[in-house]
Symmetry: C2
Subunit: 329 residues, 2 copies
DNA sequence: CCCTCTTATGTAACCGGTTACACAAAGCCT
DNA sequence: AGGCTTTGTGTAACCGGTTACATAAGAGGG
């Protein structure tokens, strides 16, 4: 690999001049610039980012910490982040925390050691000491924090919307699935739905779950129908659980949405491909990722007026696991 | 942030001694080691990876280049890579190429500039000049290359298995979906299935597609049933397309698997949650990622006996979009 | 013509680790 | 006791960029 000194020697100038050409700052004569540019081209030189980072005391990398990329909601977030960050000239260091504090800490340390310019975290322990003594820009994504700017969707409203949708469409014995207790947005949804159900004239029961894993989703689904066989409306904690419930309901021969309505949460790509296609509360995951990245970049550039909270709206996506409601009633 | 010089000064030793303690090499007196360790602890010092990388001329980062993390097959691969790489003390730099040569080149350059120790690529242009003048260890994943070690699943066999499954279970007018021409493994599957169908006494037709995107999958599904309404068995190019076809078939009121059998490819997590659950040819994506990472790490450590090709077996996952076949016939 | 400002370029310190090399003290052997 | 090896530690060069500072030539103004 050619270095800046090789280029300087070849072009008959000093390294400072080459650096000035590279970064397009300071004075450089037209003739000199041309000669340097040609030499760079000819030697196929590209500057070493590591050396640059060392002197600048920061790299062009951004750390992204996710619970688990294998959960279909997160690739969307990640992609939003990546697209925005890439465009601004940054690159991503990726980590999966698996909700383990040690892995999380481990990655935060990696990020710091590699002098990332900022980090985006979609992890659950937002108020741990982990993030306290870091002087990096940090943005929380799909999570909230008192100490750092956050980008998230309106989970409470999502929960209300889901509950209202089922109530309006005639479910009277609703089962509300409560997501894992340590997952913040799951609790927001739950609270929203709970509030709405409490206000309405319907029976409802709550089924607690402890994870979002695929395999376990099947278990919750089975549990649901043994514990509450008479239920005629389910508010799932997310689309995976929703799809698992749909699967189980069909297996039991229930007619969807006539006998049982189901509503999911997230709007992951595959939810439109289930049959019947899953009605759900959409979170704009890709946009959330983009917003988080934009916000972080603004922080990196030390711009004024940094939003502390960006809440994105959720929306009801009416597909075929809920019944149609007459527009003009 | 404390530096190694701060630690040295505080502990009353030279930087060389601190470095020796950190890396546990060279001679260090027991008493000195203790004092240095305590000082490191007290100052909460952690070494700057960037400085280390600069001197060593290589970082502890590995580049991972994927077509698109949003496609449900890739998170599995990525996770396999991550787990293996993390355990060996490396971290991941991630890029999505979107099958665009420019993005791909861009990321390869980023990897080189950041002095990654190696890279894993699941991109399509494996024999472009892109990879020629790089002197990094490179492993191709879910792709093959003549010039670099590759880890992939037995696509041809998968295609054969899929075709045989439908034939054995009585489909006689089979439609074979041909995936995008530039995606290597898609073509392997196609060739395998084609060979098997050609040998058998069944009618079949081929439907070409150009992408794997969710939205377009629905279009292929519709196209399938307008062009070949009489088909009684579909070999999909992957699970997404398979699920889209299942969805469309159910919408058209077809009875699955009695009237129409469908077989997918990949075994993405959600395929077991469709209803009827999708029969498919499983690729061990997570293991593939792990194998690729292991292989790369072996290359990084300059071990002897590097496999040039690791082919993992595929298997038929018999679920409910195919009919049962009598064991003892 | 002299002074000042702008333009152009080079020298060398610096970022924070790692390590070659030098040096000294202690242990061991004959 | 003298020589050789092992152990312990420090000095300074090095990795490859960036930039503060120095220097000098040319332009412009009175």
């Amino acid at each position: 690999m050619a270095t800046i000194r090789d280029v300087a020697k070849e072009a008959g100038v000093s390294v400072a001049t080459v650096s000035r050409v590279l970064n397009d700052n300071g004075y450089v004569g037209v003739e000199t610039r041309k000669r340097v540019t040609e030499t760079i081209e000819r030697l196929n030189y590209s500057p070493n980012e590591v050396a640059r980072s060392l002197y600048k005391r920061e790299s062009r990398l951004i750390g992204l910490l996710l619970p688990d990329i294998t959960n279909p909601f997160f690739p969307q977030l990640a992609r939003g982040v990546e697209d925005e960050v890439h465009q601004a000239g940054f690159r991503l260091l990726l980590g999966n925390s698996d909700e383990e504090a040690s892995k999380e800490l481990d990655y935060i340390q990696t990020f710091v050691q590699n002098q990332v310019v900022g980090m985006i975290s979609a992890t659950n322990n937002t108020d741990r000491e982990n993030y306290e003594d870091i002087d990096l820009p940090v943005v929380f994504l799909d999570r909230t924090s008192k100490h750092h700017p956050s980008v998230f969707a309106d989970g409470r409203e999502g929960g209300r919307l889901a509950a209202r949708a089922l109530i309006d469409r005639g479910s009277t014995k609703i089962t509300l699935i409560k997501g894992p207790a340590h997952v913040q947005p799951a609790q927001d949804r739950f609270q929203g739905a709970l509030a709405e159900l409490s206000k309405a004239a319907v029976d409802f029961s709550v089924l607690g779950t402890t994870s979002y894993a695929f395999e376990e989703a099947k278990t919750w689904a089975e549990e649901l129908f043994t514990k509450h066989p008479e239920t005629d409306g389910v508010i799932a904690s997310n689309d995976i659980v929703g799809i698992a419930i749909l699967h189980e309901a069909l297996r039991l021969g229930k007619s969807i949405p006539d006998e049982l309505q189901i509503i999911g949460f997230d709007d992951i790509p595959l939810s439109s491909l289930s049959y019947p296609s899953l009605s759900t509360i959409r979170q704009p995951a890709y946009e959330m990722g983009k917003e988080a990245a934009k916000l972080l970049i603004r922080m990196i550039k030390k711009e004024q007026e940094i939003d502390q909270m960006i809440q994105l709206p959720v929306s009801l996506i009416e597909r075929n696991t809920t019944r149609k409601v007459d527009k003009d009633e």
